[in-house]
Amino acid sequence: MAFISSGYNPDKPMENRITDIGPQKYDKFYPPVIAKNKGKWLYHEIIKPGVLVHVAESGDEVYTVRCGGARLMTVTHIREICEIADKYCGGYVRWTTRNNVEFMVDDKAKCDALITDLEGRKFDGGSFKLPIGGTGAGVTNIIHTQGWIHCHTPATDASGPVKATLDELFSDFQNHRLPAQLRVSLACCLNMCGAVHCSDIAILGYHRKPPLLDHEYLDKMCEIPLAIAACPTAAVKPSKVTVGDKEVKSVAVNEDRCMFCGNCYTMCPSMPLADQEGDGIVLMVGGKVSNRISMPKFSKVVVAFIPNEPPRWGTTTATIKRIVEAYAAGANKYERLGDWAERIGWERFFDKCELEFTHHLIDDFRDPAYYTWRQSTQFKF
């Protein structure tokens, strides 16, 4: 494995340096039918789950076949996607915000062959490479974060629980039977790189043990004032600790004030939180970002903790399935999960989803907590 230079000269980093050029310009990558009809689309239709047609003022049509994919993707897999796009789509392809791959053709005739091709592609292990779906009143791809595969602060894995959940919900990825779209998201810790806090169902990794303190190394590896300042509840204080026969500077944690957010660990690697028994999943439901009918809203915590159960997170996926089925059975057409829960009342939601209500679900974070308690005699027994 010999080092091969790109042309970059480490001794003269500024030589021929190109910077601040930004991304490629978007319109270089538009398929011709898109470039021609941009801004002049009339309407669209979902022909069947995963297959859309958009009709332009010009009469042009573009057919889109939407496929789910793991957002973790190798170059081998991307090359295969390119091969398909070259074969059917004139060398164009796009991704959606929710990690779906979209193949576009400008003729219905081309569509069928494309679909047949896609449906036939499977990994050696048996799973679909590019399952078609993710449209309309169904479940689309789960957006997620890195998890155990590449993150240093996760409280759960990402790709694994997502795969397991989408296996469980797969029929709804390929069907339009739900009352409305249902967006599932996963963030592997509450830093929420994925901003899952406004999802119909959010799977959230959560720690439950305060940081371990690696006193011997803490002052060497961390800037103690930054670790202290990082704590949102002021639970971290400076302290002196005897390690062996030496007194070292370190920190102390008021464990009763710790909410396990891991901000201290982000600032200081000598304060790890992760723990096999402590870590697991929080389920939140009922959020949305669309302004359709009701205003955007945050997801609410409805299951305080489910242990991590690798490799398939059985309790988590079964609980999600139960919520989805209750929603499918109970909600009105067009009604998002959160709107349904609000209409029937959260007390009824817990009944219908067979979820236990525990004290953890009552807000106790700062002043606004008050607004979530029930200030009315209107409730259902």
């Binding site: 010999a2 790109s6 991304p23 689309w41 973790l72 190798t74 390119c82 091969e83 048996g126």
Partner: protein
Amino acid sequence: MAKHATPLLDQLESGPWPSFVSDLKQEAASRAKNANNVEFQVPQDCVEDLLGVLELSYKHGVTHWKHGGIVGVFGYGGGVIGRYCDQPQEFPGVAHFHTMRINQPGGKFYTTEFLKNLCDLWEFRGSGVTNMHGSTGDIIFIGTSTPQLEEIFYELTHKFDQDLGGSGSNLRTPSDCIGAARCEYACYDTQAICYELTQEYQDELHRPAFPYKFKFKFDGCPNCCVASIARADISFVGTWRDDIKIDQEAVAGYVGGEFAPNAGAHSGRDWGAFDIQKEVIDLCPSQCMKYEGGKLAINTKECTRCMHCINVMPRALHIGDDRGCSMLVGAKAPILDGAQMGSLLVPFIKVEEPYDEIKEVIEAIWDWWMEEGKNRERLGELIKRQGFQKLLEMTNIKPVPQHVQEPRHNPYIFWKEDEVPGGWTRDINKFRERHQR
């Protein structure tokens, strides 16, 4: 034969959903085979080791990745995130395994040519493993070594005319919905402004000078497909001010069952015949619609542009022509101080080149935040701390009722001295002339 046994991960190969394990395995096999004789610049078996360390996490129930050190490319403060394995002896292929963020193109449209070039580069100089895409929007290259960072950057910029994205306390890579490119709901060209602002603010994107991260996201309409309202410090959501355009014939087509409601989104269940009263009129949040005598009427003045009626009857209803966007500010995920949705700052602004008015708002916000924001304080938290009034003052925007969902219920008004006749300086002795102790 795999380098590491992965009995737990293997269980994630079954089931219909695409298995990332199967994909990683095929990549590992491809690198082992190396059909094209690539001179791998990072360990050939790094994907094997990636599977190995992940298997270990599945066994231990915790991650085996350590904090990154400070790695990057010369002159940039973001775009690269250092990552190291905490079991480097056992998994040397991923001992150093840094992430690079590549600024995705608008709308995430690609030519296969461009993608294949990226694949070749990344197979050669990295693990060949990516995220398509990261949460913010970038293409994520997962796993390379420190010496390769400059090489990759050099090739990206010189060969592919392609820059890195943002990370750290700077402008994060802006992202957009598909917008006008292929959506009839788009109220402005999301890709055009996203590109323009990305280019305009390259310095802010690459060189961290902010208190914390800052995100722009561009949604073409209130359906908010890129979730800007939940996660962008400035969220641009398309809207319009004039009438929704009604094609009465197409309305009749929906009512008559000729067209499937909501573009066919509900085809998986028999919901009965389409009932325009129940499914559209009654669900309108501002109750501004009527369907009488076979005609649909919308009272534009009372419409809040929620998109429901348009979503249900896309052939019949179209967004108005006086288009622009609403700007909302301060959205963020829960860390550190609780989640925020974006709060409406500019109810309506035209989105037209050269976007000067929009840039004025952006830069006024940055001036304030860079002056007053504490370390790691997001814009939303600053607004909470100093008040929405202060934001209006700093952006020179007149308060209007649209800024609030409801007026304050507490009467604790912090009057300023210049608003009160006579000011605040009073003489106690004069007061005592009228009021004995």
